[in-house]
Symmetry: C2
Subunit: 199 residues, 2 copies
C-alpha cells in the first residue's frame, strides 16, 4: 500500500510558508505521509480580493505582529531569521524554477534554499542572479534551467496551479490539502493536517 | 511568589475565541499561570481598518474555511458546534455584562455560557432575553445585572478596554498578552503564550 499523500501549497513571497517549508519533510516522514510540493502565486488571488499588496502591509498592526511572531517561530525551530527590506517580493521566477526542479530531483532543496535566502538572510529572491546562485550551489546548469523556467509550458503550468488553488478554496499560504479534500491553512495547521490523514 | 499572569483578550462575536474561552482555564492551570479575562470590542478596530463587517464575511473563501476549521477544532475538543444563522453578532451587551461578572465571581462561567449559546447551539447573543436566561441559570438577579451593565461606568470601562487593546497592538481575537508585553494572536497560539511565560 502506498503512503497517504498531503499537498503542500506554498508561495515564495509568503512569510509563514518559510517555517512550513523547512519542517514539512521531517514532520511528514515521521507521520508516514508523502508530500507533494505545490508552488502557486497569491498575487492574482489577493488582487481578486481587491488587495494590491500583502495584507501584512495593508494592516500595519497585523504586519508588526506577524514579523514578531515569525521571529519567535524561527527561534523555536532554530531557523535563521532576517526581515527582508523588501516585502512582499516578486516570487514569479522562483516559482517557475521550482516547477522545473520539482519535476526533477532537486526541487525541494531549491525551495528550502530560496526561503532561507529570503527570510533567513533577508535577500531579494526577485533577482535572477540570486536564483542563479542557488541553482549553481545545487550543481544545476543555471542558464539552462532559467531558460526552461521562462518557457511557455512552465508559465502555463504555474497559471494552472494557481487556478487549481482557487478551486480548492485556497486563499492564503501555506495551505495543506489532503487527498479527501480537507483544507488546512497556516504553518500552525501542519500537525492538524497530518493528524487528519492518520485519523 | 504569586503565579505568572496571562491576559486573555476576547470578543464575544469572535469565532475562534470560543474554543479559547472553553479551554484556557484548564491549560493555564496546568501551566501554573493565572488568567485575567479581558473582554473588548473588535468592531471599532475593524472599522478603523475600513471593514464594515467581519473579514470572514468580506472574504468568502476565508469565511468558508473558518467555519469548517472551527467545526474540526470543536470536534477535536469535544465541544458542541452549531454555525449561527447570524454572524457576526452584536456582542456589546454580553461584553458589558461580562465586565460586571468578572468583577464578581461568576464572570468566567458567564463568558463560557455565552460562547456555548452562540457557537455551541447557534443562538443570538445580541438578544437581551438570552443574556437574562444565562444570568438566571447562574443564579444572578438578571434585571439588576443588566441595569448595572448599561451604566455609564461599565460602558466607559468597555471603551477603555478596547482602547487599551489597540495600544497593546491587538488587531484580532482571541489574543494573549504576557506581563512582559508579548502578544500572541489566535486560539492556536495559547500554548505558545504559556510556553513563553514558562521559558
Amino acid at each position: 500500500m502506498s503512503a497517504p499523500k498531503l499537498d503542500f501549497w506554498f508561495e515564495f513571497a509568503s512569510t509563514y510558508s518559510y517555517p512550513a517549508a523547512m519542517r514539512i519533510a521531517a514532520s511528514a516522514k515521521a507521520a508516514g505521509v508523502d508530500v507533494r510540493w505545490r508552488p502557486f502565486l497569491l498575487g492574482p488571488i489577493f488582487k481578486d480580493q481587491g488587495w494590491t499588496t500583502s495584507p501584512f502591509n495593508l494592516y500595519p498592526a497585523k504586519g508588526r505582529y506577524m514579523w514578531r511572531d515569525l521571529e519567535r517561530i524561527c527561534g523555536a525551530l532554530a531557523l535563521p531569521f532576517a526581515q527582508p527590506a523588501l516585502f512582499p517580493q516578486n516570487s514569479v521566477l522562483a516559482a517557475r524554477v521550482a516547477l522545473v526542479g520539482l519535476a526533477q530531483e532537486w526541487g525541494e532543496e531549491f525551495c528550502r534554499a530560496v526561503y532561507r535566502a529570503e527570510f533567513g538572510t533577508g535577500r531579494n529572491i526577485g533577482e535572477a542572479a540570486l536564483i542563479a546562485d542557488i541553482l549553481n550551489a545545487l550543481r544545476q546548469d543555471a542558464s539552462a534551467v532559467l531558460e526552461q523556467a521562462q518557457s511557455d509550458a512552465i508559465k502555463a503550468q504555474l497559471r494552472t496551479r494557481t487556478d487549481e488553488a482557487v478551486k480548492l478554496g485556497i486563499f492564503g499560504a501555506p495551505s495543506f490539502v489532503t487527498s479527501d479534500g480537507e483544507l488546512f491553512w497556516g504553518n500552525d495547521r501542519l500537525e492538524a493536517a497530518l493528524a487528519w490523514i492518520k485519523r
